[in-house]
Amino acid sequence: MTAPGARQRRQMHLAVQVPGAGSTTVWAGPDSGSHIGFPSFRHLAATAERGLFDFLLLAEGLRLPEHKGRIHDLDAAGRPEPLTVLSALAAVTGRIGLAATADTTFHEPYELARRLASLDHLSDGRAAWHVVASSDAFTGENFRCGGRPDWCGGRPDRSQCFARAAEFVTTARELWDSWTPGGVPRPFAHHGRHFSVSGTFDVARSPQGHPVVIRSGESAGESGGHSHEEREFAASTADVFLAGPPGTPEAGQALYADVKRRLAAYGRRPEDLKVMPGVTFALGDTDAEAQENAAEIRKQQVSPQGALFALEQVWGRDLSGYDPDGPLPRIDPDPAGEAAPGPAPIADRLAVAARWRAVAEAKGLSIRQTVIETTGRQSFIGTPASVAAQMVELVTAGAADGFVLRPHFTPGGLDEFAGRVVPLLQERGAFRTEYTGATLREHLGLPLPVWKG
């Protein structure tokens, strides 16, 4: 549907990732409420649905971050289990898609396929699965199969976990296809490298056939060793590719073209996979005010203590004696120094430190200012009109099919975007003015999966 008088454009898709644990969530101050209690989820879901968003995405918590053997205490921490929260949200929403992050390394296909199909039934066809393959032994310590490498298909090595994830999705699809569309269960059998399972699945084919499958990749600016595998995975089997923030329009275009190009090899059309970068934003009544708001959010995200922690992660040394408002340390990083365990260790400390020093020297920045300057700037900063224009430009330029917004605050972090930016996108004909479908597949313009009985 297009607003009267608006130019006809390709419409974008919008989703929101609920803020929770992690360093990007602003947890101090009057705008920061609980990210655990159900009323916060309900508020965000209601805002997103009022804004006609395609879906709402919840992350999964499998291990609290630790540093030097102690729980990391500076960032927002704690996450309710996403599939359970989304099942509850299905009761208080009517149209918005409900996407759960679920790891494949420490899960088994029968159980997870069942929970996802259940959510699809309970939400009348609004379920999605954000596939994540964790590969660190640190997380594995919370799981019995973490201590049983023979169960997990080998040690949690990254390539193994990728291969397991791919076979996991294949197996889940076989389970979802095991009931006839007429409602008759039939036996399944899957004997592969990672799974050898057989029997009869107990959930009837769900309204979407298969819940929507989302796969993440790395940011367009980095060409890490695994981005190829992630893109290939997405091209082979995903419905949505959750990309990193587009560093520049050109980088976004390059990634977009690269991912879409890979689809043909799997007999898929470019429109069968939606590329949606994850983005952050800061709004203001004027551009100057938006810049001030953006800077204020960054200051809240990087507390003095948080700045020292980030510095220690790069330097690999105890820097607790340094003044966060003073200059960077003169000593060099210890490339073999201790870092917080977990999924994302810093690969090349010396290079990162050199870059930080260059920035600090060029601009005369303190430790805290340097961390603020070099990490996590908002993707879109400006007035509602300017942010809407930036988003439309990226979609028009072929750098994105839409965006997954990552607000900084719970629960009100999406209110202003839904209230002020969405109407401008609609005026431009760049976003829907009503839900025309009932299921998430319909919102995303994805076909029902062909039943492979």
Binding site: L62, D73, Y110
Partner: protein
């Protein structure tokens, strides 16, 4: 009428084989809530469909029911044999969060080859071994629920600390061949520990129930006899005392399959419940309706008013959480207790 000092506890199963949408479950839970029952249960298994009937994940269904209800407790069956203990604990804790303190779980095991083949990880095992592991999973869940002390989230802007890390603890739970390090990803749920229920009719499960259950079901045969239930209850109480647990802190429910065809049947059920109660056989009942629509309506509109009229059943919910309905205290956190006594 006045509320009895120690009310009769009533629960009902809302199992509906073949149902694929939420609406019938919501309707049943609301009906049970109108009858002021303590909680509803929903069975589950990781086995094949029974008689070709589709089945949904029970915990997900009751999470879907939670926002559509206010007071009634929500107790899905969760199996421990093939599911990761960490996930069991987090899912049940999250059900407690979304229901604001109304969650429980009925621990169950997966004993069949068919279930084992769905996972392809290990062969089916004897009931004794499975229930020993179920007890270890219940213990792991309790440790994970205690791994965040109340008030661990401090949001202290002055020191930049979101957490008071002294109030977070590794769970280091152990089971046969596995450990769970922790802490949980979910902060301590509203009830402290959601209610753990076990069907202790059979002996292998009874040992696990004696260690970890807050609620125990004792199933009766087709002709309910108080003698058999009383004997099982006495055995359970002896086991509780041997473990140093107070039998007064464990709610024992007779689990009865019921078929109510007319108002007279509903009154007869009230008579049976009243007399078992008067004789001190059990603390209450878990009814399993044979026809979910017919039986639940007669239960709520027939049996419940009679029991209320006789002063055996409350006519309102004095509390908000499932533990409050069951007259069970919110458990102290083991780490908080340890620090206070240190």
């Amino acid at each position: 009428m006045s509320a009895p000092i120690r009310p009769l506890h009533l629960a009902v199963s809302i199992d509906r084989p073949g149902v694929r949408d939420a609406e019938p479950y919501v309707r049943a839970a609301r009906l049970a809530e109108r009858g002021r029952l303590d909680f509803v249960t929903l069975g589950d298994t990781l086995g094949p469909p029974r008689r070709g009937a589709s089945r949904l994940d029970a915990l997900a269904v009751l999470a879907r029911v939670a926002p559509a209800t206010d007071r009634i407790g929500l107790v899905p069956t969760v199996t421990t044999t093939h599911t990761e203990p960490f996930r069991v604990a987090d899912a049940v804790a999250t059900l407690d969060w979304v229901s604001d303190g109304r969650a429980g779980w009925t621990a169950e095991v997966s004993a069949t080859e068919a279930e084992a083949r769905h996972f392809g990880r290990r062969a089916a095992a004897p009931a004794d071994a499975l229930w020993q592991e179920a007890a270890a999973v219940a213990d792991a869940a309790a440790r994970l629920w205690d791994s965040w002390e109340d008030g661990a989230e401090i949001r202290d802007a002055a020191t930049g600390r979101f957490l008071d890390r002294d109030k977070l603890h590794h769970a280091d739970a152990e089971g046969p061949g596995w450990t769970v390090h922790g802490p949980s990803a979910v902060p301590r749920p509203p009830q402290g520990r959601p209610v753990t229920a076990v069907d202790a009719t059979r002996l292998p499960a009874r040992a696990a129930a004696a260690r970890h259950a807050d609620v125990v079901y004792l199933r009766t045969g087709p002709t309910p006899s108080p003698g058999a239930v009383r004997a099982a209850r006495d055995d359970l109480h002896a086991r509780l005392r041997a473990l140093g647990r107070d039998p007064g802190r464990v709610v024992v429910l007779a689990s009865l399959s019921v078929a109510l065809y007319a108002a007279a049947d509903a009154v007869a059920l009230a008579d049976l419940a009243g007399s078992w109660w008067a004789d001190g056989v059990v603390d209450g009942f878990h009814f399993r309706p044979r026809d979910p629509d017919r039986d639940l309506a007669l239960l709520v509109d027939g049996t419940v008013p009679v029991l209320q009229h006789r002063g055996l059943l409350r006519s309102f919910y004095p509390g908000g959480t499932l533990r409050e309905h069951l007259c069970l205290p919110r458990p102290a956190n083991r780490h908080t207790t340890a620090r206070r006594t240190a």
